[in-house]
């Protein structure tokens, strides 16, 4: 009698349990994966914002002519780690190099809209891009502002 009492769950019960758990866990796993990708993406986004902001701040600090010259020099798309000044900054913040892996930066200089303003200002946009994992897609992030000539 005691062996009867010790009988395990029925097959139906086991299957039901597996189904229930599967139904619960699968979306959870999917969700965890998605959250992981989001966190990764956000991390990259944050780093991109940091790169964009620090690059823009650095350029804005320069005198007008130097700033324009530097923007044009730095215009082409490069890996952010190839920017010596930025690399130095990254070193001080203690980010790992791989955080910036394949992250690129380019600078776009746009002349002022009107002829009168062209001597006085130009628009700088810093665009930072990084690849989406397991995809050919790229994500971009940018800041833009206007650099003004103080010596008028």
């Amino acid at each position: 009698m005691s062996s009867d009492k010790a009988r395990g769950m029925s097959f139906v019960e086991v299957m039901l349990t597996i189904v229930v758990i599967t139904l619960g866990v699968l979306p959870l796993l999917t969700s965890i994966g998605s959250t992981g990708r989001t966190v990764y993406s956000m991390g990259k986004h944050q780093l991109a914002a940091l790169v964009a902001r620090s690059t823009l701040d650095r350029l804005l600090l320069l005198p007008y002519e130097d700033c324009r010259k530097k923007c044009l020099e730095m215009g082409a798309e490069i890996n952010v780690t190839d920017d010596a000044e930025l690399a130095e900054l990254i070193g001080t913040i203690d980010f790992e190099h791989r955080d910036y892996d394949r992250m690129t930066r380019r600078i776009i200089v746009k002349d002022a809209s009107s002829a009168e303003e062209q001597e006085l200002m130009f628009v700088i946009e810093v665009v930072v891009s990084w690849p989406v994992p397991n995809s050919d897609e790229k994500r971009d992030f940018s800041f833009k502002t206007i650099k003004y000539e103080n010596r008028i």
């Binding site: 349990t17 758990i21 969700s31 956000m42 944050q46 009107s114 006085l120 206007i146």
Partner: protein, 720 residues
């Protein structure tokens, strides 16, 4: 038993449901965490995007302000000059097209903007300067700029405080002086002989004397420009000629002014400007000055003569001026002979005869310009008046002799110096024995009396008389001191002029500034609107690489400044350049092309005089060596410059140096404690230089720059 089985399976379900619930909770938590983080990231990005947009907004406002300041929007400038706390600049801001595009691209709306003045304070002056209450003082203050935008339904506001200053772009007091040498007494430790380094120009027949030049070469005096004002403005608007200060204020400076054997013989005569009018301006239209030949027993004598009608019927007396200089040292020359005849009993004349070589060299400072009568013009030019106010204890020793003679009398009355205001010379006598009392229609004898070495009322070896340009309200010669100084901006002085530099000019790293901040506020240091770490930074900011030279305010360079020739067509905007070290300047031509004539002759051309008059006060470049170091000019032509290097010293130094001889033209002013005239006059070598004063430097509305700083003093960013 089925009940037990059911109970167990119920527990499994419960466990599974519990686990699922936990998993869901975990999922929910993770989801919340990641979405919260995403929101934060998103918000941070928006905040940064908004901040860049706001900075672009206030940048656009300030940029437009700067453009209007550059374009001299008078209403705007006045709103800064008259700024009080809480007021707004007179400026209607409309966002520029570039900013508008930027904001539109990012779907940002500029909802409000405002500019308000704050913390406005007048700049202080040192104790020496009494700044008139009715004048607008220089100021410093803050301009609060507030911009507000809406971005993705959230409001962002940026509030910045930008320092600004309103400062004069010409140096107060100094700008009034065509030549200012506050320690020049150090160059004349003795009043004659080898200790006298001011009276050093040997001339003969009105020109530089080659025979005495020696191995060091010829010398030319430092020659200030001649009067450019209309002929009928006797002793009026003297400020437009630029004043002269020869210090120190308690030290006598004696200048040997030169005569000439024949009127109009050369550039260097000083007697051309020592007309009888100088002593007493009277109606010169009816009493023309003439160069007359006087017959004397021993021959003839040339001199300048004013014919004065006497009260005795149909008689006139001639007031004559003669002088001593190198050519008169010739014992056998005609003037010497004639003067002997007139003055043989005069003890001072006897001294001159005994020491003629010591007294016959001429002053290296020509304060009234070269002679109009020199070969430059063939037609007789009316004598310009003594128009330049000379400050300091400056005396002439050109041995001007006034003699008063009666027609046909062949007798001379020496007009001896007398302190006695009631003194009259003894009666004159005609050849027939008739006596004539010394009576003139106007004025007193003292206006006509001799300024010779005669008399000696002060008990000194010499009777030094001040240059006759300086007349008091009674048209009597007087010494001009700081108490007589009144700037065209109504500034007056509480202390002697030689105190000015010590209270106004400081080394940037002076200990005195560190220990007393009041000295910062009340000196030129407190006026600084921009500081450059070195000259390279300054040159870049001034726009030299683009052919410009823009100062606009008071800038300081921490180190030497060396400027090559400025491009001829440079766009130049004036201001004060403070240099903490040596200054080297090339040519500054401003489009002026020096013609191939002697520089001093330029002053005789209407074209140059007109050019000089149109040099605007706000275009003047003032270079000040804060350390009192040497100013070296590698170019010969500087138009519209004010060169300043002043300091206290125990021995003279070379503070103005021309690197190569040439045709020197300086349209502006010079203020150096000691120019080292002995060296400078040799650097001028073959050409009489021209130092001329642009009358606008003495404007009664000194230019004031409004300078908005590049830096910020307050920054507040709010997300609402």
């Amino acid at each position: 038993m089925p009940a037990n089985r059911n109970q167990r399976s119920g527990s499994v379900y419960l466990l599974a449901i519990g686990m699922l619930a936990l998993l869901f909770l975990l999922l929910f938590g993770m989801s919340r965490h990641s979405s919260g983080r995403a929101r934060l990231v998103s918000l941070a990005d928006q905040k940064q995007t908004a901040l860049f947009a706001l900075e672009a907004c206030y940048g656009d406002m300030v940029s437009q302000l700067r453009v209007q300041i550059k374009d001299k929007n008078e209403m705007l400038l006045q709103s800064f000059i008259n700024a009080t706390n809480g007021q707004r600049p007179a400026f209607d801001y409309v966002p520029g097209s570039t900013l508008t595009s930027l904001l539109e691209e990012q779907q940002i709306s500029l909802t409000s903007h405002e500019m308000v003045f704050e913390n406005i304070e007048p700049l202080q002056y040192p104790a020496i300067i009494k700044f008139p209450e009715h004048r607008k003082p220089e100021k410093k203050g803050l301009m609060k700029v507030i911009c507000e935008i809406v971005f993705l339904e959230r409001s962002y506001c940026l509030e910045v405080r930008i320092p600004f200053k309103t400062v004069f772009t010409l140096t107060p007091v100094l700008r009034q002086f065509a030549f200012f040498a506050d320690q020049i007494h150090l160059e004349q430790s003795g009043k004659f002989g080898i200790s006298d380094k001011i009276n050093i120009i040997p001339i003969k027949n009105g020109a530089g004397d080659d025979s005495t030049a020696g191995s060091a070469g010829r010398q030319q005096p430092l020659c200030l420009g001649m009067s450019i004002k209309p002929h009928d403005k006797i002793n009026t608007e003297n400020e437009k000629e630029g004043y002269v200060y020869l210090g120190k204020s308690d030290q006598d400076i004696v200048l040997n002014l030169a005569g000439e054997t024949q009127p109009g013989a050369g550039d260097l005569s000083d007697l051309w400007q020592v007309t009888p009018e100088c002593f007493k301006p009277i109606d010169v239209n009816n009493r023309p000055i003439e160069n007359m030949t006087v017959n004397t027993i021993s021959g003839t004598m040339q001199n300048k003569t004013l014919s004065i009608p006497l009260k005795v019927r149909n008689t006139r007396a001639n007031l004559r001026l003669v002088g001593f200089c190198k050519e008169l040292a010739d014992q056998n020359g005609p003037w010497q002979q004639d003067l002997k005849y007139v003055l043989e009993s005069d003890s001072a004349f006897a001294r001159y005869v005994a020491e003629k070589e010591l007294l016959s060299v001429s002053s290296s400072l020509k304060l009234f310009g070269p002679s109009f009568e020199a070969g430059a013009v063939s037609a007789r030019v009316p004598y310009p008046r003594n128009v330049r106010n000379i400050f300091g204890r400056v005396f002439n020793r050109f041995f001007v002799l006034s003699t008063f003679d009666f027609p046909s009398a062949h007798l001379y009355t020496k007009l001896l110096y007398s302190n006695d205001s009631g003194y009259n010379p003894p009666d004159g006598q005609s050849s027939f024995g008739d006596k004539y009392a010394f009576e003139i229609e106007s004025g007193a004898y003292r206006n006509y009396m001799s300024r010779t070495m005669s008399g000696n009322p002060a008990g000194k070896d010499f009777d030094y008389q001040n240059i006759p340009a300086n007349l008091d309200e009674n048209n009597t010669p007087k010494i001009y001191t700081h108490a007589d100084f009144k700037g065209t901006d109504d500034i007056t002085l509480n202390e002697p002029l030689d105190s000015f530099a010590g209270e106004w000019i400081y080394d940037l790293h002076s200990e005195a500034l560190k220990s007393d901040l009041n000295k910062v506020d009340s000196s030129v240091i407190g006026r600084i609107t921009r500081v450059y770490r070195n000259q390279e930074e300054f040159k870049l900011a001034a726009g030299l690489d683009k052919g410009k030279f823009l100062i606009d305010g008071v800038v300081a360079i921490d180190g030497d400044l060396s400027l090559e020739d400025l491009p001829v067509t440079s766009e130049i905007r004036g201001g004060i350049i403070l240099v903490n070290g040596k200054i080297t300047l090339g040519n500054i031509l401003r489009g002026f092309e020096p013609p191939p004539v002697p520089p001093v002759q330029l002053m005789l051309t209407a074209g140059f005089r007109d050019y000089l008059k149109q040099i605007e006060a706000d275009s003047i470049l003032t270079f000040i060596s804060l350390t009192g170091d040497q100013i070296t000019l590698t170019g010969h032509v500087q138009i519209g410059v004010h060169l300043v290097s002043l300091k206290q010293m125990g021995a003279p130094e070379t503070m103005l140096n021309y690197a190569e001889p040439g045709k020197v033209i300086l349209a502006g002013a010079v203020a150096v404690s000691t120019p080292n005239l002995e060296q400078l006059t040799r650097q001028f070598k073959d050409e009489l230089p021209l130092f001329c004063f642009p009358p606008e430097m003495a404007t009664d509305k000194p230019p004031m720059a409004v300078v908005i700083s590049d830096s910020l003093e307050g920054y507040k960013y709010v997300v609402r």
